[in-house]
């Protein structure tokens, strides 16, 4: 518990630090106000921007719903990067795995027409399997040939995006009457139920039960790491593969298993996006989520709770950023800057420490990433 508090504290301080820098950026870029020397207006802009950032992420049902919607795929794909990190692998391929999982989930979503209680879990499972197979390729390549997973997962991302483009133009997937690469809509029963579906006339509350899938997956990840022999083996391999071999663990099998799990999580991210958020698939289904997931995992130090917290933070920034853009002249790009700053401040704890004069030892006891060492 103290570890959690400790890691939370630095994340929060990093958030605070980046909001400060962000404020300076808002002021500096508010050219009009600066030009006439209207510092009061600049100050107001910052206040309004941050107020709508907060309100857009946590104030009121719609904001919470938007935050949940944004968090869901970030959390699942963040787990995909985290589980690989734990095993000492650097999974850049969440994008490709999401696409693969999204497409398999989509296929189950529009070909079947069973009752929802059957079709939804089946489609999510199909997404996990699709993603797992795709992630597993990188694992097998590494175990068999030693091909570095950073290279292979990046390449597999490209392969996935072209595969999706091609699939979306086949008659199996392409929506009838549409010239562009966009898929058929999934069956009504295949939709992940909306969280606030019980509220009449609130179609703006888009959050769906994919969030529970993500929370369940996070619990599963925690259980795996802390309570199973496999999790112990994965962690051991990630921290010291020589010692793991010495202890009799099968490092090659573990590589493949880690990538299968990673792909499974990312595949679920693709599945919940298709089955919950969109109801169809397009080439930009995965967007930047696969890469934001790396930041999520990094920020969360690959721990289950850390990944959850940082995914929530990023999801909230995403939702709040939209309302900030709508209410002020501050462009949504500020959110990208803020996210980058948070990660940077977390990666540079000494800087944060100096900024806030945090006492106590803050040594390199956090998880360090050994992915490149492979």
């Amino acid at each position: 518990m103290t570890d959690l508090l400790k890691s939370l504290r630095y994340t929060l301080l990093a958030l605070l630090a980046s909001l400060l820098v962000g404020a300076v950026i808002i002021v500096v870029t508010d050219i009009d106000a600066l030009k006439v020397g209207d510092y009061g207006k600049a100050f107001t802009t910052v206040l309004t921007a941050y107020r709508s950032l907060f309100e857009g992420s946590f104030w009121g049902l719609r904001s919470i719903s938007n935050t949940i919607t944004g968090t869901t795929p970030l959390l699942l794909s963040g787990l995909a990067v985290s589980v690989a990190f734990k095993a000492g692998l650097f999974n850049i391929g969440a994008t490709g795995q999401m696409l693969a999982g999204g497409m398999t989930a989509l296929w189950v979503g529009f070909t079947m027409s069973g009752p929802g209680w059957l079709q939804v879990p089946l489609a999510v499972l199909a997404g996990a399997i699709g993603g797992a197979i795709f992630g597993g390729i990188a694992g097998v390549l590494k175990a068999r040939t030693g091909a570095h997973e950073v290279i292979t997962t990046i390449m597999l991302n490209s392969i996935a995006s072209f595969l999706v483009l091609w699939l979306l133009k086949t008659t199996l997937f392409q929506r009838e009457g549409r010239p562009d690469p966009i898929s058929k809509l999934i069956a009504d029963e295949a939709h992940l139920p909306r969280l606030f579906g019980f509220l009449e006339g609130r179609s703006d509350l888009v959050a769906h039960s994919g969030f529970f899938v993500a929370l369940l997956a996070t619990y599963g990840y925690w259980y795996l790491l802390k309570r199973t022999t496999l999790g112990f083996e994965l962690r051991a391999t990630g921290l010291n593969s020589d010692a793991a071999k010495y202890a009799g663990m099968k490092s090659k099998t573990l590589m493949v298993v880690a990538m299968l799990l990673a792909g499974g999580f990312a595949g679920m991210a693709g599945a919940t996006e298709v089955l919950g958020t969109y109801g169809y698939a397009s080439t930009s289904l995965a967007g930047n989520i696969g890469f934001d997931a790396i930041a999520v995992a990094l920020l969360g130090q690959s721990s289950p709770i850390g990944t959850l917290v940082s995914a929530l933070l990023f999801g909230a920034l995403q939702a709040g950023g939209r309302s900030m853009q709508a209410n002020t002249d501050v462009p949504v790009d500020l959110i990208i800057v803020l996210r980058a700053l948070i990660v940077m401040f977390v990666a540079a704890p000494l800087l944060v420490k100096a900024m806030f004069r945090v006492k106590s030892q803050f040594s390199a006891q956090g998880q360090t990433f050994r992915g490149w060492g492979g």
Binding site: L239, N240, A243, K245, G248
Partner: protein, 509 residues
Amino acid sequence: MKLELRGITKRFPGVVANDSVNLSIATGEVLALVGENGAGKSTLMNVLYGLYKADEGEILIDGASKKFNSPADAIASGIGMVHQHFMLVPVFSVAENVVLGSEPTRRLGALDIEQARKMVRDVSDRYNLNLDPDAIVEDLPVGVRQRVEIVKVLLRDAKIVVFDEPTAVLTPSEILEFFEIVRTLIRSGKGVVFITHKLKEALTIADRINVLRRGKVVGDADPKTASEAQIAEMMVGRPVQLTVDKKPADPKQVVLSVKDLSLIDPDGRTVVDQVSFEVRAGEIVGIAGVQGNGQTELVEALSGLRNANSGVVEIDGKDVTKASPRERHSLGMGHVPEDRQRQGLITGMSITENLVLTRYHDNEFCNGMKMRWSDASKKAKELVANYDIRTSDPDQLASTLSGGNQQKVIVARELSRKIGLVLAAQPTRGIDVGSIEYIHEQIVKERDAGTAVLIVSTELDEVMALSDRLLVMYRGKIVADLDPKKISHMDVGLYMAGSRPESAVGSHR
């Protein structure tokens, strides 16, 4: 030049690392600073080198008080430091490494590599270091790398050179060469501070010995009169058993049998050449040899981490030549690996987790895939108590333990399993006297309980003291099978160097 530390106190949260330490060293002499791991030797030297600021006390050079805020100040005052872990760029040449940070330049800042080469040659010749300025550091043996560090220090005009555990990484012959270098330095008017926990070395090379215990200087010793046992007692604070006390062995059935084992490394060199031997229940067989004569590879093959190219390995009569490490573990093999940080431990995991690293899959600790950490914790508490592992909480990371206690974790884990065979490689490398004594006791106890023990060590004293039977390895072959009670250190040393003593006893191969 005369350097003096007066009343140095350095506190860290919860510990006083140095407690009003007084120390002095002049050019022309070797001062050995000995103490167990964690006694405060390194802290003291880091204060001297400007890396830490002392809470109290002062540093005087030729009687004048100095303030060191950074290593640059220390270097400017003529103090040089050779760290235990070298700070070299592996892909650079010797000359490039030596000038790194103060590169001689030509116009426009171009690196004057010719000048750098000349500087290295000059220093190398003057101190007999025998260094090739153009050699690439990563190709050099550890002993030569250390000389590169020494050149770096000398080029920065050090009058007093501090060596932090310089022999920990060296082979016996490199240690001898190192001592020669130290003597040359002294003859050239330098002063040397030699930090070590190896008493024999301190006695060999030092003019004076200071003993540190728990941050305090607890005594001075004159190497001409003091004995190893006296100094060890000062270090540990109680009388220490330096020799191993054991009954004669009572060997029973063959447990480990190795027949014509050969190993070829990826470069095609034969590193282990047709090796055959047996280890019986209830005996300790030692393998002596200079580092790099195939012992590491032999142990890897015996433990299943490396495939044999030819030959047969049997445990209890079962052919395990192609068995995985786990299969061998289940046949009752315990393995204390050579490199505890790299193989034996996962320092980023807790002590408890490390204590079950090779047995987490036993029914004792899991139901199928589900770990029972409560049982693991119970076991860990028991082992921490039984094996005298000094920690307040087994849930702390293994990295928080001292080297000796880390090694005790490994020994505890491996010896507490149901085993009939122990492979122990370098079981006491780099750990303090107290822990060595303890680990030796445990190994002998295991033998007396009927376990077959194979010890591989480059520390001749250790194998001589522990073994009931002594094999010597040279260039991948076993060149001698000796009775350690009937042969002198000197003669074993000759076998290790590849020659055969006149007064040879025992059988040869």
